[in-house]
Amino acid sequence: MSLASPAEASRLAAVRRYAALETTSGAAFDRVAALAARIFRAPFATVTIVGDDTVRVIAAHGLPPRRGLVESLCAAAVRHGGPYVVEDAWLHPEAAGDPAVHGEPGIRFHAAALITTPDGEALGSVNVMDVRPREAGDEELACLRDLAGLVMDELEVRLATQRTVEVERELRAGAERLARTLQRTLLPPALPRVPGLRAAAAYHPVSADEVGGDFYDLFPLDGDRWGFFLGDVCGKGADAAALTSLVRYTLRAAAVYDADPHAVLANLDAVLQQEHAGGEAPVPYCTAVFGVLQPDGDGFGVTLATGGHPPALAVRANGAVEPIHPAGGQLIGILRNPRFAQVSARLNAGDALLLYTDGLTEARTPSGSMLDEDGLTAYLAAAGPTSADDLLTTVHDLITALGAGVSDDTAVLALSVPPATRTPSSGSLGAA
């Protein structure tokens, strides 16, 4: 029956539209079949959908009738295009050769009411069968039509629900794609190559769907100086992403204007305070570390300012771990007259510096306590002298080991000065 008439093709299109919905739950249709049998005081009732060359029985009451009968009588009902009654199949040409009529269970009576879509396509029928010939009363047929109407209503509700779910899923997927794309624009795709320095960064999201507000960057300043920062904007989602963008560009612009780390954070604070002047509570704010690297001999001078951010940790060439942390830096963008503290230090050959967001230090250890700066320091100390890349691996291992104890995104920026190359044995003066 593949060469269907245009009318049949249109009907089959309607059948396909509802196809997945019949199978989701048969309970409602089973009740319809049981009710139909009861109304007619008949042993068998079915709900059938007539497809291209198959008739699907989506609900049955009593013994499931043989397939041959279903095909001939139900398909005939759909073709007939209205309520369809066979009072005695023995006298009916459509059922003449049907084994279910002449053999077991010996069907003689058949009545069907069409399941019709709102746009008039017949999907199938609700059918009642009996083993004795009989007539169908008007009242019984009216009930059968109502039951067929109920089946259609149920299919319509399921179709509407499915469409709503699909639309919602599409909208959600679109929003998540946008958020992830936006987030990628907030993180530098690759860190620049800084002569004499190794740099590496990573982002460890807790959820693939939700955008966090962690950010970092490393970029050239005037002369041979380099600026870097890492921070965390309060909140999650699109608002946090927008704020992260503002923070990132403000930090870079402020550093061009005046690279003094304390001044950069004060500038960011002023911008954020203006941003939400008179706005809704709670106001957005952030924590950040901002630093400037100045090449100095075989290492770098580092000047760091912090605003409410956990301490940067230096892993020295001898494996000692120490915070490079000016005391007293406060949250950025929310306080009146906030303090931003600044400190200077050196990164010598073999030293590494780790900046991280509080997703790491506020993670819970298996004992239930917060990892904190002390726990992180102990973990880094156990790993020994390191490089930027190895430091990222160490942090990655730690985050993996903490597992579900990590409840917030973590951004990590690692900087290191390669160890001094030793001239083997001879003791001669190597090229500087």
Partner: protein, 119 residues
């Protein structure tokens, strides 16, 4: 991590001494609006102080912190004191890293905070 401890906020106004706001449970994005609503109803003025008992606080995210900071600033503007008491050591540590220990007055217990106000 799921923070599903809920949040309870109750304001007590004793006949003498400062008002006491008892906050217990998780203070997060979902629950903070309830605390903010209660705090916004509190009228501050010279001598009309508030002690916030946070000893039952199990979690505090950035929105909770912003709300406490905003209330503190409103109290300060009105010439009143807003004192925080009974912070869990982990949350106190987070406040310290954010530099909030320099701004907010933190006390071990509500009793200690009340005593500090009467001195």
């Amino acid at each position: 991590m799921q923070h599903d401890n809920g949040l309870t906020v109750s304001l007590q106004s004793p006949t003498s001494g400062p008002r006491l706001l008892v906050v217990a449970g998780d203070l997060d994005h979902h629950t903070t609006p309830r605390l903010r609503a209660v705090l916004e109803e509190v009228e501050f003025g010279p001598g009309a102080d508030l002690v916030v008992d946070l000893s039952g606080l199990t979690f505090c995210d950035s929105t909770g912190i912003a709300t406490l900071v905003a209330a503190h600033q409103r109290a300060a503007d009105a010439g009143a004191a807003l004192l925080l008491a009974g912070l869990d050591s982990d949350i106190a540590r987070v406040f310290q890293i954010m530099g909030l220990d320099q701004l907010l007055s933190l006390y071990d217990s509500p009793e200690e905070a009340v005593r500090a106000l009467s001195e």
